[in-house]
Symmetry: C2
Subunit: 529 residues, 2 copies
């Protein structure tokens, strides 16, 4: 296992902000330092400093030069003492929120969401009290298993920054533990807010252990995958006991949220019959097969209260999986999908009654004109619970580019209110992603999420855009790259031209640079009269 | 010059459809042949054929095995006889349309837009009469210079398929003629509907000649670039005479549409003063500099009627360039931008009065929540003239990925009514695109345009999606790839897995394939009761 896994961002500092309610909090952020603006007026050179820009930082201790990483030992246990201090029998964030209590996790995320607001005096609605109230109402979730103290608190809800999830994990055919841990850290480097370990092959437990102990963001799983391995891939042999034991095993290990396809009802399975692509959810198809074979209601549905009792003990959030999500644009918004959504609306209230944090998974493949109906209906039927969608892909004709087809849908549904977007890589539908695919997928989804934040008017979201645009106009190339989502890629492309550092790039050449000409207008003092 | 420039698409035929009004028309299409669906029921193997899918084909004679390509001679002159037959002094499509005449070009595009409709009995509103009426009203444009008979007619208007434009062209620092011709053909291969040659370096005339004679799609230019070269990059030395001569030179050569920044008024230039990134249009900044230096109204504005008279003689369409488009999200929808739009609304009516086809260019950089205002305002102020936008990019923080930031905006504005989307490559803001960047840019924009067609409900647009989804569900991998926008890329990614041709891919492995499990449900006859 390679311990040489640390990294840094160019001209950036790892900084920590303290709490006010909990002064011991150290909320990690990345501070990008900028060069000054240099002007020459009447032959005199003047320098005007540019404020540093703080950006949301998901990279954990990997980007802190003062922390030594030992993958065998795992990351420092940031939340250990907060958790130890709490003595309630139900340790969920929702329980505390409903009792009016602000936890360190709640203040942590409030500070984290606001980034540049305090420095720049930007008004923000996000206070620790607001966070608490959103969680109490079920409108937001902090996935925070008491057995995953390594993870830095983050919040999923439509009144906060739009988050993205990264899927990694091996399948029976490919990829080892080492590579999965590398992908996990890689995902955090580029901005993944949560990480789902979807491993289905051998060594599921061990792979997950390595990931959990070394992952600074919440980790989700689909426990059915492991249960399915326990019955050698024979759906009909699944039992509630096997599933329950798997849940408990993963709760103890520290998984922060479970995708469980409890929304599939026996009576609704036939609705997928008229579809073009049937069921495309692995968990959904497995439990459906069980239901059909035994002609019985799914044990995920009939034991839902038991599932909640287990999750409540560890503060594991439930992600209500959409087993009947459409697998192509033709199947979007059909009866099967919406019947499941109705069931989810029923279940989310049962989870809340047991103080279990929960959210709702959504599609999938949806043409643009049908996206809004998904969001509106989810808000209505699921009582404002956070929505967590996979894309959606807005067309089916571009395998090899489905990070793009899905980012188009993701940006829109994020703007409309989806709280977290599950990324899609260029290899979707074709093969397992490698490290580079993870990078492209994460950056693409950071774009979609940030575009949604801008459109929603999240406090301070535009600071980074404006700083980058100013750097661009002033030909501060290095600042432009450093402020971008992928500084390495931007620099790499820029270097393909032959004039690094000049007041133009090869797109237009020296004489045709509009920005340069625009500047000369200013210098002529022609624009200021 | 490499004559070995031809290509083919896998399992596809180049087919031609004849006209009804003009039986001699041969409208090129690509027919993708599919394999049958194979089912084994009760041990018996059955085959059900799948209909071939016709797709819009921009590749011209390069994909026709029966045409010999000689780049020195140029492409066959498809429209030569149609043009020769017409004896009117004003040869524009708009002139004919206003006089109730249907031209071969009009029937050509009507057939082309409908693809699978006749075969599959899909109702369509697009008839030659409809095309004529849309052109007569100014709602659509067929860019078709009488001196570019090599180009295959296509239509730009919001009641038709959304089109995409590709920018190529060298700058003073890089790229030769050979490479630009290769990029032009490459763009047509991947689906570019029109091509702008934005060369600014040496050999502008010669580069354009090679491109025009070998380009099966309409070619646009920004004539100011060549005029600017003629005055050695000194904006103040530009004159109407130099510009006029440049226009005539390019009209004679066969350019199909001109981007001209006539919308910039002396009184409005100061509006860009408060911007974060000033002016980012090359043409716009050049003419602004001229205006400011001479303190005079732009000759592009004051000679607009003369420009129209020239264009009317050759049926060159005018693309009213947006010199004041926003160069960052901060500057979006500002006074400068909208003042120019008002001027464009005045000019488009003057163009129509002279039977000149015209359309309106739009931004640029616009956050999602401000996109709709752009479209609504353009329709209102510019009297339903087609809109042609560059993206827009919905955030500024992702240089290196701006094909994606802009495709998110492009898909939305296309859905709202934009008729043509100007592509953006991954190198935008950083360097000139190479061949691979052109491919990625074109495919990305085909995605945005097609997503918009689906959302708008263009007749038959979903046929390709549904055929691909069906192939995916039936594990007809080859059909899936062949139906995709980039079959080569999809196959390449698929091959990174180790199980080519199986009933699963490495994403899920054999046991976890949801589609496979979903099939077994069907086979159990469980879904059909």
């Amino acid at each position: 296992m390679n311990n040489n896994i640390k990294f840094s961002y160019p001209d950036s500092e790892k900084v920590y902000m303290n709490g006010k309610i909990f002064p011991e909090l150290k909320v990690a952020m990345r501070k990008i330092n900028l060069t000054p603006t240099i002007e020459i007026v009447d032959g005199k050179r003047s320098e005007t400093p540019n404020y540093p820009v703080y950006v949301y930082d998901t990279s954990g201790p990997y980007s802190d030069p003062n922390v030594k990483i030992d993958l065998k030992k795992g990351l420092p246990k940031l939340r250990e003492q907060w958790i130890e201090k709490r003595k309630e029998s139900v340790p969920t964030q929702m329980y505390y929120a409903k009792h009016g209590i602000i936890t360190p996790e709640m203040e942590y995320v409030a500070i984290r969401e606001n980034m540049n607001c305090e420095e720049l005096g930007i008004e923000t609605h996000i206070t620790p009290q607001f966070v608490r109230d959103e969680i109490a109402e079920g409108r937001a979730v902090i996935p925070a298993n008491i057995n995953h103290p390594e993870s830095e608190p983050m919040i999923i809800g439509r009144n906060f920054l739009v988050k993205i999830n990264t899927n990694i994990g091996n399948s029976a055919t490919y990829s080892g533990i080492h590579e999965e841990v590398e992908k996990a850290v890689w995902s955090c480097k580029w901005g993944g807010d949560t990480l789902m370990d979807l491993s289905t092959g051998e060594n599921i437990h061990e792979t997950r252990e390595w990931i959990l102990r070394n992952c600074p963001v919440p980790v989700g799983t689909v426990p059915m995958y492991q249960a399915f391995e326990k019955v050698d891939g024979k759906a009909e042999n699944l039992t509630w006991d096997i599933f329950r034991d798997t849940l408990i095993e993963q709760c103890k290990q520290g998984v922060d949220y479970f995708t469980i396809h409890c929304g599939i009802r026996l009576k609704n399975i036939h609705l997928a019959e008229s579809r073009l692509t049937g069921m495309v959810s692995r968990g959904g198809s497995i439990i459906s097969k069980w239901c059909i074979t035994h002609n019985k209601e799914s044990f995920l549905y009939s034991h839902f209260d038991d599932i909640c009792d287990i999750c409540a003990k560890y503060d594991v959030a439930i992600s209500l999986g959409d087993g009947l999500r459409p697998g192509c644009t033709f199947d979007a918004n059909d009866k099967a999908q919406f019947a499941e959504l109705d069931t989810m609306g029923e279940l989310i209230e049962r989870a809340w009654n047991k103080n279990v944090q929960a959210f709702i998974e959504g599609p999938g493949h949806v043409p643009m004109n049908k996206i809004k109906e998904n969001m509106d209906r989810q808000i209505e039927k699921c009582h404002n619970a956070p929505f967590y969608t996979l894309g959606p892909l807005v067309t089916d004709i571009a395998p090899g580019y489905d990070h793009i087809t899905s980012a188009i849908g993701a940006a829109q549904i994020g703007w409309l209110g989806t709280a977290m977007l599950c990324y899609v890589t260029p290899k979707e539908h074709l093969a397992l992603p490698n490290k580079d695919d993870v990078r492209v997928g994460v950056v693409t989804y950071k774009i979609a999420a940030h575009a949604a934040d801008l459109a929603k008017g999240h406090p301070g979201a535009a600071i980074r855009d404006n700083a980058l645009s100013k750097a661009r106009y002033e030909f501060r190339w290095k600042d432009q790259f450093n402020l971008s989502l992928d500084p390495e890629k931007a620099l790499e492309y820029y270097k393909t031209s032959n004039n690094v550092g000049g007041k133009y790039c090869t797109m237009c050449g020296p004489n045709f640079c509009a920005m340069h000409i625009s500047h000369t207008l200013n210098e002529q003092d022609c624009l200021t009269k």
